[in-house]
């Protein structure tokens, strides 16, 4: 087992990873930017290295700084968390070259699955269902028009290098396609420095269902069930739950098996997520594969009892999975709500500030993954996630009540601080969410209802 692991991330996930390391008896090294010098993970870790100034590019995205920090502190492995360098094949490759184990899939696998057009093609070849659309990156607006005609409208244009809900556009009217093609291409280039786009049919009233897989380096693979992440605001997840409510056992089984098949076909290792769109007719199609730990991994942990970060580390250490598929027995229902430092009254604009009070909820079956504490400054440099609130209960209605109780319990104060806690409670209370009949359009329609 590794004696030292460097956590190449910040915020709650850095703390989450460091906790898993400590429980495994591994010495932890945090890296931090100037803005994070007093952060929770810096306090927690056995060692910490200042890698750069606040801007991500100079700090958490600074590959030489992170790699040097690992080298200087004798870290044998590196956990990238999510975001930042976690899906950067170049980074994984540099780690490998430097003799540092990258806790994640092999760089070539990341490369292939990270290119969404290539991933689509690879997975289609492996027999996974993909939405009708382009077979590779589009070469022109005219080609986009041809493909769209073939698949039928509405369609969605997506950046090949996309992620985080950026670089996509839904087109409902053929007349809008060319303009949308150009705009999305420009945005893709601006955000990802890669202007390539692909196109596929867009499913209205769809649900976002994703399957968590674990694959070791010896051909072993299991799934840990699925998550429903349909509560989204502009393609960003707000609430996630496991199991996905209302799936028939047969459908659930089929989706999970499909994900494992895809993972094996791709030579995937570590923890990965297969994201599917599920239509009202119970057809499902692969959207993308996430080659990293997901923000919402705790809901799967709560229902399965499996510590996914621990499994990631054991797999990276070369150990075969000790878990057999028939030992994965989800129990009850887990829900996660992302409490963000955002102001719902101002279009969910980030609301940074210094916390004068921060008391998260507690009590039975409530888990709060957070890096916040009283006196912590929620700065403007990074994402607005403040506290992932996760609850478990024997059934969905109890879980919902527990989450509502937990969200109401937060005591967060500070000049300028606003959070999404109350907004999330309104989603939990929405009849469509209660009935689990919601789709990814729920939050948008709630905003419309509020405006009406």
């Amino acid at each position: 087992m590794f004696s030292t692991v460097l956590v190449a991330n910040r915020g709650e996930i850095a703390l989450r990873v460091a906790r898993a390391c400590r429980e495994l008896g591994i010495r932890t090294v945090a890296v931090y930017s100037t803005a994070d010098r007093d952060s929770a993970v810096v306090r927690f870790a056995d060692d910490a290295v200042h890698i750069g100034p606040a801007p991500a590019k100079a700090g958490y995205l600074n590959i030489p700084a992170v790699v040097e920090a690992a080298r200087l502190t004798g870290a044998e492995a590196l956990h990238p968390g999510y975001g930042f360098l976690s899906e950067d094949p170049d980074f994984a490759e540099v780690c490998e070259a430097e003799g540092i184990t990258f806790i994640g899939p092999a760089p070539q696998v990341m490369q292939r699955l990270g290119d969404k057009a290539a991933c689509r093609a690879l997975m289609a070849d492996a027999g996974l269902p993909v939405l009708p659309g382009s077979t590779g990156p589009l070469t022109s607006a005219a080609e986009a028009g041809d493909v769209a005609r073939r698949t039928g409208y509405p369609v969605i244009l997506k950046a090949v290098a996309g992620g985080g809900g950026r670089g996509m556009a839904v087109v409902r009217d053929p007349a809008d396609l060319v303009a949308a093609y150009r705009a999305t291409r420009a945005q893709a280039f601006a955000v990802f420095a890669d202007e390539r786009l692909y196109l596929e049919r867009y499913v209205e009233q769809a649900r976002h269902i994703e399957v968590q897989v674990l694959c070791d380096r010896h051909g072993g693979a299991v799934h840990l069930g699925e998550r429903d992440c349909s509560v989204q605001r502009r393609h960003q997840k707000l609430i996630e739950e496991s199991p996905a409510p209302g799936l028939t056992p047969a459908l659930r089984e089929r989706m999970c098996e499909t994900a494992v098949r895809g993972a094996l076909a791709a030579g995937y290792t570590g923890a990965g997520t297969f994201e599917f769109v599920l239509t009202p007719q119970d057809d499902f199609y692969l959207m993308e594969v996430n080659c990293r730990l997901q923000v919402e991994h705790p809901v799967t942990e709560m229902v399965t009892g499996i510590d996914i970060v621990r499994e990631q580390i054991l797999i990276a250490d070369g150990q075969p999975l000790t878990l057999r598929q028939d030992q994965v027995a989800p129990r009850g229902v887990a829900i996660e709500c992302r409490v963000n430092a955002e102001d719902p009254a101002r279009g969910f604009a980030p609301a940074p500030g210094t916390l004068t009070e921060f008391v998260p909820p507690g009590g039975p079956f409530v888990r709060v993954d957070t890096h916040a504490f009283a006196d912590w400054e929620v700065g403007p440099h990074y994402d607005s996630l403040l506290a992932k609130t996760v609850v478990w209960a024997p059934d969905r209605e109890q879980a919902r009540a527990r989450m509502d109780r937990a969200l109401g319990e937060f005591r967060i104060d500070g000049k300028g601080m606003r959070t999404t806690a109350e907004f999330l409670r309104s989603v939990l209370a929405h009849p469509r969410f209660r009935a689990a009949s919601h789709t990814t359009s729920l939050v948008g329609s709630m905003n419309d209802e509020a405006a009406a």
Partner: protein, 191 residues
């Protein structure tokens, strides 16, 4: 970087604090304020002249105490040093600026521009760029930083005399770690 033995103490803290980026060990708490007050009181007591002003900041908390400029009473008996006739110089104790180490006030630091390995010399066996006592001019190389096998020269940004070399040869350093302390040559001496 932290030491292995004391996980809350970081090497950079042992170096004089960078005025522009104070690095409290952890965010301010009431306990800190109390401790700070005690510390300042003790510190101030070691001088025979009573302070004129104490300013103290911890996070958002700020305290300033100012005494009349010409205190009528002589120093009390219970003070440590017997040294007499110290002038009632204005003392600003904020963040360890210090009459007992006046050199620090004027020190200037050459900091690491990034994480890497710091070398005193351009190549193994070669003489070090600078030694204590040397005078450097702006732009003069004072060391080398190796980052992922690429080296870059670190240059002095002010003219000054090298008073201390704070990082060992071939030592790993982190971003903004003080490497070399200079006494600037053109100092505007404070009142």
């Amino acid at each position: 970087m932290k030491t292995n033995t004391d996980k809350w103490t970081e090497p950079i803290v042992r170096a004089p604090l960078d005025e522009h980026e104070p690095r409290p060990e952890h965010p301010p708490r009431k306990a800190d304020v109390e401790r700070l007050c005690q510390g300042v009181a003790e510190l101030a007591r070691t001088f025979d002249a009573p302070p004129r002003r104490i300013r103290l900041r911890s996070g958002t908390a700020f305290v300033e105490v100012e005494w009349p400029t010409a205190p009528p009473t002589p120093p009390p008996a219970d003070r440590a040093g017997p040294a007499p006739a110290a002038p009632a110089a204005p003392v600003d104790r904020q963040e360890g600026a210090a009459t007992d180490a006046p050199a620090r006030d004027t020190r200037h630091y050459v900091d690491a521009p990034g994480v890497g390995t710091f070398y005193h010399a351009p190549e193994p066996g070669a003489p070090a760029y600078v030694s204590v006592g040397d005078v450097v001019r702006p732009g003069q190389p004072v060391g080398v930083l190796e980052v992922m096998k690429m080296t870059s020269t670190i240059e002095a940004d002010v003219a000054g005399r090298v008073v201390e070399i704070l990082a060992e040869d071939a030592q790993g350093v982190e971003y903004q770690q003080h490497l070399i302390a200079l006494e600037p040559l053109t100092t505007t001496t404070g009142e």
